[in-house]
Symmetry: C2
Subunit: 336 residues, 2 copies
DNA sequence: ATGAAAGCGCTAACAA
DNA sequence: TTGTTAGCGCTTTCAT
């Protein structure tokens, strides 16, 4: 059964397609009588305008792309949900793309999104090769970065002050008396992690404590990897009394390593995460972590994106939000 | 900067647009020489065919919709990721729609997806009003249900034997010596939960134990609600020694309630969940749960969907997978 | 083997 | 106020 088109409506209502189009889009002048009549017919015929056809005329597709490392990672699935809600409330759909932080996937997905003429792209994944994005901006496809940034690129971005977040974590640990501290970081190509560690180390430095390179372990962003790395740390001769993990997944891995080796958290080992995902509320002990105000960030990013659809050559903003320490149970006073 | 069109390519290659089109789609006959030349030009001009335009000609949009209750719920975000991977490997994009299990949202999203001419819809959310879906099938839009079913509707569906899963949970608890058992269920309008409870109760019945209506608590599907309900259960005079929760979220709520009231799991209270999400590996004690073979299910469902795009009037399948008991730490022998 | 031209469903100038 | 018509970028006959 073919779908009803604007022609069917026009014929049925005894008017031209232009009039129907005007009625739909509230353009031009037309008598109330005709308008009502047309709407009635549309209703009766269950007419739904084809987005495809109107997009071909250069109108919007009302579809945006969302690039994130992995939807199944709670941090990003929570972002996806917020984006989706905002988008739907404005009539947009969102195509979710999990990139696994791989540039070739990023490139492939972006190409796909381009072909589908999405109106804009929200990027919440690291992109090493800025050229991929540069091409986009040159094609004047709207993009805004969320929880990431692309220095050297003229795009909107809204992110957390990761340096500050790292410092917050360090201060908390310091205040609990910890001195031997290690960190589990994502690969440093992930700039947000880099900043977090930098802030962490800075705060330590301010307190007169040097963070040794050997105490910074680079991991993939997975529970398994966090567990492996933390286990190694625990086995060390002079093992740390606290571990700062660059995200909740790694922190959970550390929690598991502690459990397996019989190390009590927080009595013997304090663990602090980053992101404040649902996971951090679910562990036992619940995870102390650094929260990013994600809902606000998504709102800001989305609004920026939508606005830049209309107004393409606006000054690019870089909005930095403040992180917050959420103290739960996985950190405690150092037992001397 | 306007995007390159097929006209640009044709002009540059000195051929007609039809020839370019043929070259792209491997249709018709054309000399290798011309073909190579055309591809070279496409490369040089960075030509990317517009999916929009070809969709308007009745071709596929290479976009599918995924309806689930909530992407931020790990069970569904894991599904979303699998769907996405399969889809992308076949050149499809997926539009994610979180319905919160509300029929009006389902309806709104479906309408949106229709307007965008998606090729098919994967439905992993309950739909109370089957009419919404019936309309779709009548319009010959391909849909397949995953982890849900729509009895009375001629659609493909792949799901787990929820009855069996419930029975598995009961048998496990029974084998540990539990007799006073309660259940936390989602609203019974969610048929999967209904089946789970039915299976659970059946297995109990077989063992000569009657499950009292008062021992079945109906909840929303959230940690908070699980906690609330479990806390009430724990406070009861003759409180149960084991709780079967219809999903991991509820089970985690129960775990939290136990922790707060100082009830030790599993020594004093056994808790079993359903779904085997990442959450169940993260809690402490780790959650015993019933797993659905989601990866296989998604694969099956996706293949069914893709196949039914070509072959619309095929016999509708109903594939039922077997659930599996995953024993972790939250269930144990009853202390008599 | 290649091209001309019609048409997919819609919007927007322009006529009437 | 309403209708006619020319595209948007592509696929697909049907000629050549």
């Amino acid at each position: 059964m073919k779908a009803t088109t604007i022609y069917d409506v026009a014929k049925e209502a005894g008017v031209s397609i232009a009039t129907v189009s005007n009625a739909i889009n509230g353009k031009g002048k037309l008598s109330n009588k005709k308008r009502d009549e047309i709407f009635k017919v549309m209703e009766r015929l269950q007419y739904k305008p084809s987005v495809i056809a109107s997009a071909l005329m250069g109108k919007k597709t009302y579809t945006i792309g969302l690039l994130i490392p992995d939807v199944s990672n709670p941090f990003f699935s929570e972002i996806a949900r917020s984006v989706e809600d905002l988008a739907h409330s404005e009539g947009y759909s969102v195509i979710v793309c999990s990139t696994d932080n791989k540039d070739d996937r990023v490139e492939k997905y972006i190409r796909l999104l381009e072909q589908k003429s999405v109106d804009g792209i929200l990027i919440g994944t690291g992109v090493e090769n800025a050229d991929i994005l540069r091409q986009l901006t040159e094609k004047s496809l709207s993009i805004v970065m969320i929880a990431r940034e692309a220095v050297s690129l003229k795009v909107h971005s809204v992110l957390t002050d990761n340096f500050k977040g790292g410092a917050l974590a360090a201060e908390h640990l310091l205040s609990k008396g910890h001195r031997r501290i290690a960190v589990l970081s994502e690969n440093f190509k992930v700039t947000s992690s880099f900043e977090r560690v930098r802030g962490f180390r800075f705060a330590l430095f301010e307190a007169g404590i040097a963070l040794d390179e050997a105490d910074i372990i680079s991991c993939d962003s997975s529970i398994r990897d966090g567990k492996r790395a933390a286990a190694a740390l625990i086995r060390r001769e002079n093992s740390p009394s606290a571990i700062f993990c660059c995200n909740d997944l790694l922190a959970i891995g550390a929690l598991q390593a502690a459990k397996e080796t019989g190390v009590r958290v927080p009595e013997q080992l304090s663990i602090i995460g980053f992101d404040d995902t649902i996971l951090s509320t679910v562990t036992n002990p619940a995870l102390t972590t650094i929260a990013q105000p994600m809902d606000q960030m998504v709102k800001l990013a989305f609004d920026l994106l939508i606005r830049s659809l209309e107004n393409t050559d606006e000054i690019k903003q870089r909005i930095v939000m403040q992180p917050e320490l959420i103290v739960r149970e996985s950190t405690g006073k150092l037992n001397v």
